[in-house]
C-alpha cells in the first residue's frame, strides 16, 4: 500500500515538472482513485450508499469469473493472451479519449474489455482482437460521448464489425474443447487447427443434428470462448440478479420468449426452427441475455420497457437464427434492440404520463 503511494507521488511530481507528461494526468488520477478511494464528503443526504461504479463493475467481473476460468480450461492458456490484448488495446483507446477530452477515465471499460474476448471464437488471431476492441470502443462508445451516453453495447459493436469484416475468421474457426484431465490449464491452445468443427447451431441448421443438453450445459461443444460453459453463465447471471445489480425482468422475458416462440415456428417449418430447449442452450443466448442485453446504459430503464425489449430480443433472435443465413441471432438482435431502446422508453413514458 505504501509502495503504491510512493510510486504515485513520484509519478505525480514527475508530471508536474514535465509539461509533456501533464497529459497523462487523467491516468494518474484514475490510478489514485482506484487505489485510495475518495476523500469527498456528502452534503445532503448526510449518508450515501456504499455502492459505487467501481464495485458495481467489479461485481460483474466476479460474475464472469466462472466462465472465464472455464474458458481457459476449454481453450487453453491462450485465452489469457486474448483477454490481455483486449484490455490493452481497449484501455489504450479509453485513455486516449480521456486525455483528449481532459476527463477522468471511467470504469465501464473494465467489463467491456472482459466480455469482448468471451464472445470471440477460440482460434481468433490476436490482431483481430485488437482491431475489434478498438473499433467497438471508438464507434460503440466514445463516438457517442463516453460512458452512459452510448446507444449500442460496445462489445457487440466490435463483434458485429469483426463478423462482417472477417467472415472467414469469425465463422469458420471453431474447435472442440479440451475435456480430459487438466485440459487447457496446461496447454497453450488446442493442438491443431485441423480439428475444425461446427457450432451446435450450425450442426442443426445444416444437418439437423441436435447436440445433447448435458454437453451444452457443461461446455462440451464448439462455440465462442465464453459462451459454452452455460452452467457458469447461469450462475453468474443469477448472482447479479441476487445482488440487485441486474434487473430480472429483461433476461426472463428474453429467455421465456426464446423458449416459447419456437414451438410455434417448429409447427410451421420444423427444419428451420429448433425446439425451445435447444434454442435456449445453444449459441450465445445465455451470455447475451444475462450480461449484454442487461447492460443498464443500452437497455430500457422503464420496467414495461424491459419486458418489451426482452420479448423483442427473443423474437428477433429466433427469427434470425431460423430464417437468415447467420447463426449470430443473439448478437444481431441485441444490436437492433439497442437501437430501439430510446423509442421503447419514450413510448412507455408517453403511455405512463398521459395528460389526464
Amino acid at each position: 500500500m505504501k509502495i503504491i503511494k510512493v510510486i504515485l507521488e513520484n509519478m505525480n511530481k514527475a508530471s508536474q515538472k514535465n509539461k509533456a507528461l501533464m497529459i497523462f494526468k487523467p491516468v494518474l488520477n484514475a490510478m489514485d482513485e482506484f487505489f485510495f478511494g475518495t476523500d469527498k464528503v456528502t452534503s445532503l443526504p448526510h449518508i450515501v450508499d456504499n455502492m459505487d461504479i467501481k464495485r458495481l463493475m467489479s461485481l460483474v467481473i466476479i460474475a464472469l469469473m466462472p466462465v472465464t476460468i472455464a474458458s481457459v480450461y476449454f481453450w487453453g492458456l491462450r485465452v489469457f493472451l486474448v483477454i490481455m490484448v483486449s484490455y490493452a488495446f481497449g484501455g489504450l483507446i479509453e485513455v486516449c479519449f480521456a486525455v483528449f477530452r481532459k476527463k477522468e477515465i471511467h470504469e465501464g471499460f473494465l467489463v467491456t474489455g472482459l466480455i469482448f474476448p468471451l464472445i470471440l471464437p477460440p482460434g481468433v488471431p490476436l490482431w483481430v482482437v485488437a482491431i475489434g476492441v478498438m473499433f467497438g470502443v471508438i464507434f460503440g462508445k466514445e463516438a457517442f460521448g463516453g460512458t452512459g451516453r452510448n446507444i449500442f453495447n460496445p462489445a457487440i459493436v466490435g463483434r458485429v464489425f469483426l463478423t462482417i469484416a472477417f467472415p472467414n475468421i469469425m465463422t469458420m474457426n471453431w474447435q472442440m474443447p479440451f475435456n480430459k484431465g487438466l485440459g487447457g490449464f496446461i496447454h497453450f491452445q488446442n493442438s491443431v487447427d485441423a480439428i475444425t468443427t461446427a457450432t451446435p447451431l450450425a450442426l442443426f441448421k445444416n444437418q439437423g443434428i441436435i447436440t445433447s443438453y448435458s454437453n451444452l450445459m457443461l461446455g462440451q461443444s464448439a462455440g465462442c470462448i465464453g459462451e459454452t460453459f452455460r452452467v457458469g453463465i447461469i450462475a453468474g447471471g443469477l448472482f447479479l440478479i441476487a445482488m440487485r445489480i441486474v434487473d430480472w425482468r429483461l433476461p426472463l422475458a428474453y429467455l421465456a420468449t426464446v423458449v416459447i416462440f419456437p414451438y410455434l415456428g417448429n409447427h410451421l417449418i420444423h427444419t428451420q426452427f429448433a425446439l425451445g430447449g435447444f434454442q435456449l442452450l445453444s449459441g450465445g443466448l445465455l451470455l447475451g441475455a444475462f450480461f449484454m442485453a442487461t447492460d443498464p446504459v443500452t437497455s430500457p430503464f422503464t420496467k414495461p420497457g424491459r419486458w418489451i425489449a426482452g420479448f423483442l430480443l427473443g423474437f428477433l433472435t429466433v427469427l434470425i437464427r431460423g430464417l437468415s443465413g447467420y447463426m449470430e441471432g443473439v448478437m444481431f438482435s441485441i444490436l437492433l434492440v439497442n437501437a430501439f431502446t430510446p423509442l421503447i422508453d419514450t413510448m412507455v413514458l408517453k403511455a405512463r404520463y398521459k395528460k389526464k
Binding site: 464528503v41 448526510h46 449518508i47 459505487d52 460512458t147
Partner: protein, 499 residues
C-alpha cells in the same frame, strides 16, 4: 380494529445502524441560560409579551397571538429575561427571548383546570388546554383547535393519522415512548383528540416489527370502533405524510400541499403524549424527549430537555472528540446540519444524530467485504450478517460518474417518479412542461435517490433545482394538483425541521 399489514412500492429499509438510542431516558439538568425562539413548529412567528428585565417562571406564556395561526410559547425556566433579539435560526431571522435561570427548581406550575377526568371538561376547555400548552404547534399541520392553532377547524378533520413507525436510519425508541403507563396515557391522548375532532376516524399506524406493542394496543382498543390499527413495514420514508395517506387511506396525496387540505391531520406519538399531559396533567409543552443517536456519541440514550437549552449543553459531554464529526438534526437523509452548536433546542427536535465526518481515504475501498456497510444492493457482506451493526459515515464512498441508468433511484423512489430522467432533463436545461408532466413536483425530497445512486449524483438537489427553475419560468406547481383535488385552498407550510 387491527388491520392487515401494509406497505408501499419503492422505499428502502434502513436496518441495524450502529448507535441506535437505547430505551433509557435521562433528564438533563436545567440550563443556566435558555434561548427561546418565538417561532416553534407550526405557526407564524410571534411577538414577545415580555421585555428585558422581566421575571418569568417556567411555563409562563411569553408569546401568544390569537389572531394568527400559531400556538403560545412559554418560558422553560424560572428566571429573568436577559434580552429579546433577532438571531439567525436555521437560515431564518427569528426573534429569540433569552432568559437567565435564577431558580433551578424542576417544578412546573400546572395549567388551570386540567383534570384527569377530562371527559367532564367541556370541548372548549379541552381545546383551550391543548392550545395553551403549546402542543398544538407540533407536526406539519399542528393540532386543530378553535384557537387557530392549525389551518383547518377541528370539525372538518375527516381522518386523524397517528404514526410511530420509525423508518429513518435512527429512530426514537417506540418501546420507550409507549412504556408501561405511557401506553395508557397515549391511548387517553388519542381519545381526547377524537373528542376534539368528532368527525374524524383515527388511524393508528405502528412499526410492524414491534409485535408486543401492536398486541397491547389491539387489546386495549378493541372496543373502539372509530380506531383502526395498521402495522406498517418500517421502510423509509413511510413516516412522511405523502406516503402515509396513500398507504392508509388509499387516497392520492396533493403533493406540495399540506395534508390538512384534504381533511387529514397527521401526528406523531410525542404529540399525542403531549396532548395527554396538557389536558390531564396541565403541563405546558416545555420539555422534549430527544434521542441522541449515532456512532460518534459516547452513550446512546434519550434525554429530556427544556426547550431553549443550547446544543452545547446537550452535546458537550456526550460526543466523542477523537475525530471530526457531523451532527444532523432529526434525520440523516433530510435533516439540517447543526454547525452552530450554540443554537437552542425547540419543540420540533426529536433526534440529534452524530456520525463521523470521514475524509480519510481508504485503500482499495471498493474491494472491501463490507461487514458494516449498508447498501441498497446486496453486494456487501453486511447483507448476510444481520447481527452486525452497520457504521454510517459521511464519506461519499466513490467518485461522481455519469448516470448509467441503472434504475436504482427509480426502484427506490416512493412517489413513482424517475429521478435520473428528471435530472438529465434539468442538467441539459430542458426545462418545460415535459418534466412537470413527468411529476417533478411530486418529489417529496426524501433523499432516497441521492442515497442509492452508485454514480454519486445528487439527484435530490438537481430535482430541487429543476423545480425552482420551472417556477421561475412561471410554471405553477399548483396546476398539477388543483384540477384533481377538492382542496381547502391553503398552501403548503413546512416547519423549520424540513428546510
Amino acid at each position: 380494529m387491527l388491520k392487515p399489514a401494509r406497505t408501499f412500492r419503492g422505499g428502502y429499509r434502513f436496518k441495524n445502524f450502529n448507535g441506535q438510542a437505547r430505551p433509557v431516558i435521562v433528564e438533563n439538568q436545567i440550563p443556566a441560560l435558555v434561548t427561546i425562539p418565538l417561532k416553534q413548529g407550526f405557526g407564524a412567528e410571534l411577538k414577545s409579551l415580555v421585555k428585558k428585565g422581566d421575571a418569568v417562571f417556567a411555563g409562563q406564556t411569553i408569546a401568544r397571538d390569537d389572531s394568527v395561526v400559531s400556538s403560545p410559547i412559554h418560558s422553560s425556566v424560572n428566571g429573568v429575561v436577559e434580552d429579546v433579539k433577532r438571531m439567525n435560526y436555521f437560515k431564518r431571522q427569528t426573534a429569540m427571548v433569552i432568559i437567565r435561570t435564577t431558580n433551578a427548581s424542576k417544578e412546573i406550575p400546572r395549567l388551570e383546570r386540567c383534570s384527569l377526568e377530562w371527559a367532564r371538561l367541556s370541548n372548549e376547555k379541552i381545546e383551550e388546554l391543548v392550545y395553551l400548552s403549546g402542543v398544538s404547534s407540533l407536526d406539519r399541520e399542528g393540532i386543530p383547535t378553535r384557537f387557530k392553532s392549525s389551518i383547518i377547524p377541528p370539525e372538518e378533520v375527516k381522518h386523524l393519522i397517528v404514526h410511530g413507525i420509525g423508518s429513518e436510519p435512527y429512530n426514537i425508541s417506540l418501546d420507550l415512548l409507549l412504556k408501561e403507563k405511557n401506553l395508557l396515557n397515549f391511548l387517553e391522548g388519542v381519545k381526547i383528540l377524537k373528542r376534539i375532532m368528532p368527525n374524524s376516524k383515527v388511524h393508528l399506524s405502528l412499526n410492524s416489527k414491534k409485535r408486543n406493542i401492536i398486541e397491547q394496543v389491539t387489546k386495549l382498543t378493541s372496543q373502539l370502533e372509530w380506531l383502526d390499527t395498521y402495522p406498517l413495514e418500517p421502510k423509509y420514508p413511510q413516516g412522511y405524510d405523502e406516503i402515509l395517506v396513500p398507504t392508509i387511506l388509499n387516497q392520492n396525496f396533493p403533493y406540495g400541499y399540506s395534508a390538512a387540505n384534504i381533511g387529514v391531520v397527521i401526528l406523531n406519538i410525542q404529540a399525542v403524549l403531549g396532548v395527554y399531559e396538557a389536558v390531564c396533567e396541565g403541563k405546558p409543552f416545555i420539555e422534549r424527549i430527544i434521542a441522541i443517536c449515532g456512532p460518534s456519541i459516547k452513550d446512546n440514550i434519550h434525554i429530556k430537555v427544556r426547550v431553549g437549552t443550547s446544543l452545547k449543553d446537550i452535546l458537550a459531554e456526550r460526543v466523542k472528540t477523537e475525530s471530526p464529526i457531523r451532527v444532523a438534526l432529526n434525520s440523516l437523509l433530510t435533516g439540517f446540519q447543526l454547525n452552530d452548536i450554540s443554537l437552542p433546542v425547540d419543540r420540533t427536535f426529536s433526534h440529534i444524530i452524530a456520525i463521523p465526518e470521514k475524509r480519510e481515504r481508504e485503500f482499495l475501498s471498493f474491494m472491501r467485504l463490507g461487514k458494516t456497510r449498508d447498501s441498497y444492493t446486496r453486494a456487501f457482506l453486511a447483507e448476510m450478517l444481520p447481527w452486525v451493526k452497520r457504521a454510517p459515515d459521511t464519506n461519499k464512498h466513490g467518485e461522481e460518474r455519469p448516470c448509467i441508468s441503472c434504475g436504482f433511484c427509480e426502484r427506490a423512489c416512493p412517489v413513482k417518479i424517475i429521478p435520473h430522467l428528471l435530472a438529465k432533463y434539468v442538467q441539459r436545461n430542458l426545462i418545460d412542461e415535459t418534466i412537470m408532466n413527468y411529476g417533478i413536483f411530486n418529489c417529496i425530497e426524501c433523499g432516497l435517490c441521492s442515497y442509492v445512486c452508485p454514480s454519486k449524483i445528487s439527484l435530490m438537489k438537481i430535482i430541487k433545482e429543476g423545480q425552482d427553475k420551472l417556477i421561475m419560468q412561471g410554471c405553477d406547481s399548483t396546476q398539477c394538483i388543483l384540477p384533481y383535488f377538492n382542496l381547502k385552498g391553503i398552501k403548503e407550510y413546512r416547519g423549520v425541521t424540513k428546510l
